[in-house]
C-alpha cells in the first residue's frame, strides 16, 4: 500500500461534491428536492385527491481519469470535468421532470397548444384558463418560470413585450391577474376549519 492523505483529500472531496451538486442544481430551477433514504416505493396523493406511484429510475454517471492523465491533470481541469458531469445529471433530471409534467398534463388535460402561432390573445387566454397563480401576502403575483427552447423563448419574449407595450393588452393582462388574484383568494378562503 502507498501512503494516502485522508485529511487533505476530505477537503478536496467536499469541494468536488459541492461543485457537482451546484452544477446539477443549476438545471433544476430551484425546484425543491427531497432525498428518500429508505424504502423502494413512493406513493403521492395530490391536493385534488388523485394518487400516483412514482417509478424510480436508476442513473449512473462516470468521471474517468486515465492512468497517464494523473501526472498532468490539474485540479481546475478535474473540477471542470466534475461540473460537466453535474450538468449532465442536472439536464437528465430536468428532462425526467419535464417528461413527468408532460405525462401528468396529458392525464389531467392541463395543456395549451398555440399550434405554432402564439399571439398575445392566446397567451392571455392560457394565462387565464390554464395556469393557477399564487400570490404573496401583499397580493403580488408569484409569476411562474417559463422553460422553453431559445427559439420559443424569443417568441414568448416578443409576445410579452407586445402585451406590455400595448395599452389595451396591458389592461387585459391586469384584468387576468386580477381574476387570478380572486381565484387565489377563493382557494385560500377554502383553507379553513368547518364543522
Amino acid at each position: 500500500m502507498l501512503p494516502d492523505y485522508p485529511l487533505a483529500k476530505k477537503f478536496f472531496r467536499q469541494e468536488i461534491e459541492e461543485r457537482l451538486n451546484r452544477a446539477r442544481s443549476a438545471h433544476m430551477l430551484d425546484v425543491a428536492e427531497e432525498a428518500m433514504f429508505e424504502g423502494q416505493q413512493l406513493n403521492v396523493t395530490r391536493e385534488d385527491g388523485s394518487a400516483d406511484q412514482v417509478a424510480f429510475e436508476h442513473r449512473q454517471y462516470n468521471i474517468q481519469i486515465g492512468n497517464e492523465e494523473y501526472i498532468h491533470l490539474r485540479w481546475q481541469e478535474l473540477l471542470a470535468r466534475v461540473e460537466r458531469v453535474g450538468e449532465q445529471m442536472g439536464t437528465d433530471a430536468a428532462r425526467m421532470m419535464y417528461s413527468e409534467i408532460d405525462r401528468i398534463s396529458q392525464i389531467t388535460g392541463n395543456r395549451a397548444d398555440a399550434q405554432g402561432n402564439l399571439t398575445p390573445a392566446k397567451f392571455l387566454e392560457f394565462l387565464r384558463e390554464k395556469i393557477e397563480l399564487d400570490f404573496d401576502s401583499c397580493g403580488r403575483p408569484r409569476l411562474p418560470t417559463i422553460v422553453a427552447g431559445p427559439d420559443t423563448i424569443e417568441i414568448i419574449r416578443k409576445v410579452i413585450e407586445e402585451i406590455e407595450g400595448t395599452p389595451e393588452l396591458a389592461r387585459e393582462f391586469a384584468v387576468v391577474i386580477g381574476d387570478q388574484r380572486e381565484r387565489w383568494r377563493d382557494r385560500e378562503s377554502h383553507r379553513k376549519l368547518v364543522d
Binding site: E33, E34, E38, G39, Q40, N43, K192, V194
Partner: protein, 526 residues
C-alpha cells in the same frame, strides 16, 4: 485481536462501565437480575442483587482496580468494611426473603496480591466460625470475568474484516461527540438481525448477551468521557434492536426480556447522571467555546428533551427535572424536525407536572414554527433525517442566491396537530390552518412492521400527501382521538418511555399514530 480488546476494556473499565455487561452475562448464565444500583453508589454494599438458577439470592459488589492488584492494606482499610455490609447485612428487596441466607460475591476486574488473597481466606475462616459454613465470601477476579466474556467471542466478532474494523473504530472513538447512529445500528444489525436467517433461537439468545457486551465495548469512549447523552442512545439502540430480533425471530421472553430490563436500567442510570451533571454546571458549553456558539441552543434543546424523559421515567427525580426544564424552556429552539421529538418529550413531561395552558401553548408554538419554516421560500424545513451538524453546515453554506436550503415536507406536523387538537383549541387551529394546510406530509411504512426498530430499511414505501384545504373540525377531532398505535411494533408498546427515547434517537421514525398512542398511554403511567 478481540481478546485484546476485551482484556483492555476490562482492565480500563470502571465499576459503572462493567456493571451492565456483567449483569447481561449473569442473565445469560441463568441468573435473574433483580436490582442494579445507580451511579454505582452501593446500597448496603450491594451493587447487583440477583437470584441464581436455584433461586438462591446472590449479592454482588463490583470493584474496579484496573491494572493494579488489590493489596492487603487496600483489603483491610477499604474493601473489608464494604464487604462486611455485603456479607452480613440481609438483602432488602421485595422479591427476596430477608430471612433467607444469600450468597455474597466480590467481583474485581483486577487481581489480588498474595497477602490480600491470604487475608480473604482468613476472613472466610473467621466467618465460618462466627456464622457457620453457609456464610462465605466468593471472589470473581479479572481472569474469570475475562474467561466468561471471551466465551461470547465467536458471536461477538463480526465475521467480515470491514465490519470488525468498524467495530474497532467505535471502540476507539474519543467519546466526546454524538453516538454515530448508523455505525452502532450497523453493529447491532450484524450481531442480531442478519443472523436471524440462519441461527436457531438459543443461538440468538446468546447473541442478545453478546450484543450487550459489544454495545459496552463500542461505548467505551463515551463511558470514559462520561458522555451520558451518547450512552442513553447506545442503550436505546441496544434495546430497540433486542425488541426487533425478539419480534422477528419470535424469541421466548426468557431469551430477551431480562436483557431489555437491564438495558433500560443502563438508560435510566445515564439519564440520572445527566440530570446531576446539568445541575452541577453553570453553563452547557462543550469543546471549543467560540465554535460552540451556533450549537449551544441546539444542544440545550436536546438536553431538555432528555431531562424531560428523565422526569417521566424517574418519579423521585421529577422535581429536579421540572426545575431545569422551567429554567431553560424559553431557550429551546426548533431548528428542524429532528428536534420535534425533543419538544414532544418536554410537552409530555409538562403535561404531567403543569396543569396550566403551558403544555398546549408549547404545541401551538411547534405547529406555528413547523408551518412557517416549511412554507418559507428562503430556507425550508430541515427534515427529520437532518442532524444538528448537517443542519449547521448546510445553513451556513447557503448560496448567495438564497436557494431553499431544505425541503417543504413534514413528517411530524400531523402528529403534533393531532395532539393540539385534543386540547380542543379550535380557534387557535383555525388561525394556523391556512399555513398548516400548505405543508405536504410525508410518512414511511416499512414493508415488515418489525423493521420499524431499524435505522434503515430496504423495503418499504414512503407516502407523500397534502391535507384537504377545507377540513372538518369534528373529523379532525375524530382522527386525533385515535390511539391504537397501529404503526408501532407490538413489543415496543410495552415500553412507552423507551419509545420516546427511540424517537429522540431516530426522529425519522416519528409518525402520528405512534405519537397519539404515546400521548394516550403516558398519563396512565405513574
Amino acid at each position: 485481536m478481540i481478546e485484546r480488546v476485551i482484556e483492555n476494556w476490562l482492565t480500563e473499565a470502571s465499576e459503572k462501565s462493567f456493571q451492565l455487561p456483567f449483569c447481561h452475562l449473569l442473565a445469560f448464565e441463568g441468573y435473574t437480575v433483580l436490582h442494579l444500583s445507580r451511579h454505582c453508589t452501593m446500597e448496603m454494599g450491594k451493587d447487583v442483587i440477583a437470584k441464581d438458577a436455584d433461586g438462591l439470592p446472590v449479592a454482588f459488589q463490583l470493584k474496579a482496580t484496573g491494572a493494579s492488584k488489590v493489596s492487603s492494606d487496600h483489603w483491610r482499610t477499604e474493601l473489608m468494611p464494604q464487604v462486611n455490609q455485603l456479607v452480613l447485612q440481609a438483602i432488602q428487596h421485595p422479591a427476596i426473603d430477608s430471612q433467607k441466607r444469600h450468597r455474597s460475591v466480590l467481583v474485581v476486574n483486577g487481581e489480588l496480591e498474595e497477602e490480600a488473597s491470604a487475608a480473604i481466606t482468613q476472613y472466610n475462616q473467621a466467618l465460618q466460625v462466627t456464622h457457620g459454613d453457609q456464610t462465605q465470601l466468593e471472589v470473581i477476579l479479572r481472569g474469570d470475568l475475562y474467561r466468561r466474556f471471551i466465551e461470547m467471542k465467536d458471536v461477538l466478532v463480526p465475521s467480515e474484516l470491514r465490519q470488525f474494523r468498524d467495530f474497532l473504530n467505535l471502540y476507539l472513538l474519543e467519546g466526546n461527540g454524538r453516538m454515530p447512529r448508523d455505525r452502532f445500528s450497523s453493529l447491532m444489525e450484524s450481531l442480531l438481525i442478519e443472523p436471524i436467517a440462519y441461527s436457531k433461537k438459543p443461538e440468538l439468545a446468546r447473541r442478545v448477551t453478546a450484543a450487550a457486551l459489544a454495545s459496552s465495548l463500542a461505548a467505551h469512549g463515551f463511558q470514559t468521557s462520561a458522555n451520558h447523552v451518547a450512552l442513553i442512545e447506545v442503550w436505546t439502540n441496544y434495546c430497540a434492536h433486542i425488541l426487533c430480533v425478539a419480534e422477528k425471530a419470535k424469541l421466548p421472553k426468557k431469551h430477551w426480556e431480562q436483557s431489555v430490563e437491564i438495558g433500560l436500567e443502563g438508560l435510566k442510570s445515564s439519564l440520572a447522571a445527566l440530570l446531576s451533571e446539568m445541575e452541577r454546571r453553570n453553563n452547557f458549553v462543550e469543546g471549543d467555546p467560540l465554535a460552540d456558539v451556533p450549537m449551544y441552543r441546539i444542544r440545550l434543546t436536546h438536553l431538555l428533551g432528555l431531562i424531560s424523559l428523565c422526569g417521566l421515567w424517574l418519579p423521585d427525580e421529577r422535581d429536579r427535572c421540572e426545575d431545569i426544564v422551567r429554567r431553560y424552556l424559553s431557550y429551546m429552539i426548533l431548528w428542524g424536525e429532528y428536534a420535534v421529538p425533543q419538544f414532544l418529550a418536554v410537552y409530555l413531561f409538562l403535561s404531567k407536572v403543569d396543569a396550566t395552558l403551558l403544555p398546549a401553548d408549547l404545541l401551538r408554538t411547534i405547529l406555528n414554527t413547523l408551518q412557517s419554516l416549511a412554507t418559507e421560500p428562503e430556507s425550508g424545513l430541515a427534515g427529520a433525517e437532518v442532524g444538528e451538524e448537517e443542519y449547521i453546515q448546510r445553513s451556513l453554506k447557503r448560496s448567495s442566491r438564497h436557494r431553499r436550503t431544505f425541503g417543504c415536507t413534514s413528517r411530524t406536523i400531523e402528529g403534533i396537530l393531532h395532539l393540539y387538537t385534543r386540547h380542543n383549541r379550535r380557534q387557535s387551529v383555525c388561525g394556523l390552518w391556512s399555513g398548516i394546510s400548505k405543508v405536504q406530509r410525508t410518512d414511511f411504512e416499512p414493508k415488515d412492521k418489525q423493521d420499524y426498530y431499524r435505522f434503515r430499511v430496504e423495503e418499504g414505501s414512503q407516502h407523500d400527501w397534502f391535507p384537504s384545504a377545507t377540513q372538518s373540525w369534528s373529523q379532525l377531532r375524530l382522527d386525533a382521538s385515535e390511539s391504537a398505535g397501529e404503526a408501532i411494533p407490538i413489543l415496543m408498546k410495552r415500553f412507552p418511555l423507551l419509545y420516546l427515547s427511540f424517537l429522540m434517537m431516530f426522529p425519522h421514525r416519528f409518525n402520528s399514530s405512534g405519537v397519539r398512542w404515546l400521548d394516550t398511554v403516558l398519563p396512565t403511567i405513574h
